[in-house]
């Protein structure tokens, strides 16, 4: 009689337990990266710094054109609301830009770019290195793979995500301001003044929470999945797929949690 409820409980409970276990592993990985930085006061060895710069270049700098393109498209979408907002009166468009762009869309779009371009590449690269024996060779040469491969990737991705989000927001707000008067909305200076008045200190804190933490976690997922590959190239595609699914789930889930806390507060 208890067979069915037990099976249901197991079916519902297993993903929860697995998810909790994965969250603990991620938290441990991120914590270990921060712990590794402590002895040197945050300084990286020159060889590790090179990997960090490469990561920032690939994840941040090379993503700039794509981020700007998306910012322009988002600005167009927002600017076409100008006539409606003018009819509604007040500072609707400025408030809309803060609520939609700064609080929600900016971090999500930037995280999407980073997951699609970099986390996948990271997982594939590390999985291939693992399968080809490069990771073992590093360890055998006395080069700690964690310090050389994982630490700079997490830090580089976090720095890149924060920077890309700020760039995306600046470009989207600037383009919205320029397009607004063409579509019957307020003048650029007026619109930007509205945005400045709508922004609150909590928005800045939330923005940091929505970029620094996902930046670390997205890279941690890529590293964890990539380094989980074992002895065959067939391990590489599943590592990439798992990275996409998990990184999106966790970063979007985290952003939802921060938004909920922001509105509740």
């Amino acid at each position: 009689m208890w067979t069915r409820p037990l099976a249901l409980a197991r079916a519902a409970g297993t993903p929860v337990v697995d998810g909790a276990g994965y969250a603990v592993r991620l938290a441990a990985l991120v914590g270990e990266v921060l712990w590794t930085l402590l002895p040197g006061g945050g300084r990286l060895r020159p060889a590790v710094r090179q990997v960090f710069y490469r990561q920032v270049y690939f994840t941040g700098v090379k993503a700039v054109p794509f981020a700007l393109l998306l910012a322009l498209m988002v600005a167009l979408v927002v600017a076409v609301q100008a006539p409606w907002s003018a009819a509604a009166g007040g500072e609707v468009l400025g408030t809309l830009l803060v609520v939609v762009l700064v609080r929600e869309l900016g971090p999500v779009v930037a995280a999407t770019i980073v997951i699609a371009r970099s986390a996948t590449a990271m997982a594939a690269e590390l999985a291939t290195m693992r399968v080809d024996g490069e990771v073992d060779t590093l360890a055998a040469l006395g080069i700690d793979p964690f310090e050389y491969l994982v630490v700079p990737r997490l830090l580089g991705t976090a720095v890149s995500l924060v920077s890309l989000t700020i760039l995306f927001l600046a470009a989207a707000l600037g383009a919205s301001a320029l397009l607004s008067p063409l579509l019957g909305g307020p003048a650029p200076a007026d619109l930007l003044a509205q945005v400045a008045r709508s922004l609150q200190p909590a928005d800045v804190a939330a923005l940091l929470a929505k970029t620094v933490v996902p930046g670390l976690v997205i890279a941690a997922v890529g590293c964890l999945e990539g380094l989980s590959a074992w002895r065959s190239t067939t391990d590489v595609p599943p590592a990439v797929t798992a990275t996409v699914v998990r990184a999106f789930s966790i970063s979007f889930g985290w952003n939802t949690l921060v938004s909920a806390l922001l509105y509740l507060a």
Binding site: R45, P46, A47, V48, E125, T128, M129, D132, G133, E134, D136, T137, L138, A139, A140, L141, G142, I143, D144, F146, E147, Y148
Partner: protein, 225 residues
């Protein structure tokens, strides 16, 4: 768990590499390997490739023994912290079967990496000396996939001896090499092994290699061919 390796000077009599009753999974049923290797004695482990590779991996802490013990300079590398194991392994040169050069680095960068990571003085000069010593001056800025296997092997060997290790672990170093390249490689290894304070452990099914290196031979105790 130990956290730091004892200094080599603390254990002057400890063999560089030592196993006792070593049994490993994934290694053609390897069981009960006893070996002790000190300076000045090249040793050739003869047996199936997979078993020899697993022994080398166990010696540097990449593979946990099913039973038995492993000691590298008197320490069990698998029991050390990551940082302590890294400082112990600086004394070891490692040449895996296919070289395992980092594919996203040039040949020069592959050599520079261990020098820069461990903060040695004048890394570029040391790198240039190694490139010249192993006849690699012509293609240092190419990536591994842009050069042939003999060149990749030479780079991997140059990288293995770059930090002036006391112990060199080689997994089938002449595999897939043409005859002139194999002879050249064997001569370079034999010269290295003859230098004082050096120990060399090579694993290969090729019996001629032991003769070329003047190495003592030890057959791996495997239960499956």
């Amino acid at each position: 768990m130990s956290t730091a390796p004892a200094d080599l000077a603390d254990r002057p009599d400890a063999p560089f590499a030592e196993t006792s009753g070593l049994a490993l999974d994934h290694a053609a049923g390897l069981g009960g390997l006893d070996l002790a290797l000190g300076p000045g004695e090249p040793l050739h482990l003869h047996g199936p490739m997979e078993a020899g590779a697993a022994v080398l991996r166990a010696l540097v802490g990449l593979e946990r023994p099913r039973s038995g013990t492993v000691r590298l300079f008197g320490e069990d590398p698998a029991a050390l912290s990551r940082r302590a194991a890294a400082s112990l392994l600086v004394r070891v040169g490692w040449l895996p079967r296919h070289g395992a050069l980092l594919a996203n680095l040039t040949l020069r960068e592959n050599l520079l990496l261990p020098l820069e990571f461990h903060g040695l003085d004048h890394p570029r000069t040391r790198c240039d000396v190694a490139l010249a010593r192993f006849g690699l001056e012509e293609a240092p800025d190419l990536r591994p996939e842009q050069v042939g296997l003999p060149v990749r092997r030479r780079v991997a060997l140059a990288r293995a001896v770059l930090l002036e290790p006391a112990l060199l672990l080689l997994d089938d170093p002449l595999d897939d090499l043409d005859e002139p390249s194999a002879a050249e490689m064997a001569a370079a290894l034999a010269a290295w092994a003859r230098e004082p304070g050096h120990a060399l452990l090579v694993t290969s099914p090729d019996l001629a290699l032991a003769a070329a290196l003047g190495a003592r031979r030890l057959s791996l105790p495997v239960t499956r061919p």
